[in-house]
Amino acid sequence: MKQFNKKGEKMIIVNRLLAATLVSMLGFSAVNAASNDALVKEGRKVFVTKKLGNCLACHTVQNDPNIPQAGNIGPKLSNMDTYPKEYIFNKIWDPNKTNPNTVMPPQGRSHKISKHQIDALVAYLQATAKAK
């Protein structure tokens, strides 16, 4: 049986702890990335589906070449990663707060889509800015 002195034992424990932390961090980030991908996918569905957000009726987005024909009532949604998430969320929830003359419907305030679906939209919009 291999004998360790006290210092050696401590080192082994520290090493093992470090390894476990690293593995769990990697695992966590992998799970996180996967869940964000799912959120982005859901956000795209909300964006293009008529009975959900139907954002496509007025806006087009950058870096999503397979998006169906979009309307041109609202601006093209580009560089959305330069806006804070909360700002985009609030804009979708009730755009009248920041612009009383807007024609954009208050998707959240009117409960047309849920808070989770708006979060998904925000994730999708920010992902389109990063995708090149």
């Binding site: 024909q69 979009a70 309307g71 041109n72 009532i73 009248n96 419907p105 047309k112």
Partner: protein
């Protein structure tokens, strides 16, 4: 002296009421002129006025797909007036218009005698070409009367059951009347204070945001007219009533009256669908038709 004062007071009251009577439509005329000018200016030169009216439409798309400048009468074609791709499809569709069968049916219904031997001509002595006289304000009942109501009133007067509003036989009879009224100019009048109130109510309904989409007629058909909602071109509110009843190609093709079309649009905003011939819809159609005063009718017509 007292007699003289009374005389002056009476004369001034009478002359005042005459001036007042002539001004029932003063506000409406002011609105109409502003409404017409907005659309004429918007479609005068969309490339030049791009930043003001079409900020999110690319100049390349305007140059490729938009037809301009538009005259007042051009607005009778709705979105087909300015959107070239739809206009080309429309021209092909109207080589053999689907609504012609509906007009034929309407003519047969118009000429078919009621059980008492009379026909619609007994209620419309000027003949079927009176679509441009509707809607009008009835000063006896103080209500707006639509052409659908006039057709059904004629049926009831002659002992027949009224038609169901919106589509079907009533739309066919109106289609025949509209066909016979082609080229006649819309001339909606505001003859009394009650009529001015009905006009104001219709105007309020036009600008009212409704439904879970919080949309008003104004937002899509004034502010956003000349833009695309997905692939659909949005029609200007000016001239919208000239094409009624409208043959919609959507689905299997349906001939719809103005009331049915307005109710469908309200439903599209996520609001409760108003009842056909309700005060809301009648006053709304009164306001909307007034806005197109002076425009020649071209109904029925085909739309998407």
């Amino acid at each position: 002296m007292l007699k003289r004062l009374i005389k002056i007071a009476i004369i001034s009251m009478i002359s005042g009421s005459i001036v007042f009577a002539a001004n029932f439509n003063a506000q409406a005329e002011k609105d109409r002129k502003a409404f017409v000018n907005y659309f004429l200016k918007k479609f005068q030169d969309p490339v030049k006025n791009h930043a003001q009216y079409f900020p999110y439409v690319s100049v390349a798309e305007i140059k490729k797909d938009y037809r301009y400048p538009l005259s007042f009468q051009d607005f009778q074609d709705g979105s087909l007036a300015w959107y070239k791709p739809s206009r080309e499809q429309f021209a092909e569709l109207n080589e053999f218009p689907a609504y012609s069968l509906e007009v034929d049916d309407g003519e047969a219904l118009w000429n078919k005698p009621f059980a008492n031997g009379k026909t619609y001509s007994s209620c419309f002595p000027k003949g079927p070409g009176v679509r441009n006289d509707y809607p009008y304000f009835d000063t006896k009942t103080n209500e707006v009367v639509t052409i659908g109501q006039a057709v059904n009133a004629c049926r009831v007067k002659n002992g027949e059951k009224p038609y169901k509003y919106g589509k079907g036989k009533i739309a066919k009879v109106i289609a025949y009347m509209a066909f016979k009224s082609r080229g006649k100019k819309i001339h909606v009048t505001i003859p009394s204070m009650a009529a001015a109130k009905a006009y104001e109510h219709g105007k309020k309904e036009f600008y009212k945001q409704r439904g879970y989409l919080s949309l008003s007629c104004n937002e899509c058909h004034v502010k956003s007219a000349g833009k695309r909602l997905r692939a659909e071109s949005l029609s200007p509110a000016l001239g919208q009533t000239t094409e009624m009843p409208v043959y919609r190609v959507k689905g299997n093709g349906t001939l719809l009256t103005l009331q049915a079309r307005l109710a469908g649009c309200v439903k599209g905003t996520g609001a409760e669908k108003p009842k056909l011939q309700s005060k809301t819809l009648r006053d709304l159609s009164y306001f909307l038709t007034y806005m197109s005063n002076g425009m020649k009718l071209y109904g029925p017509d085909t739309r998407k």
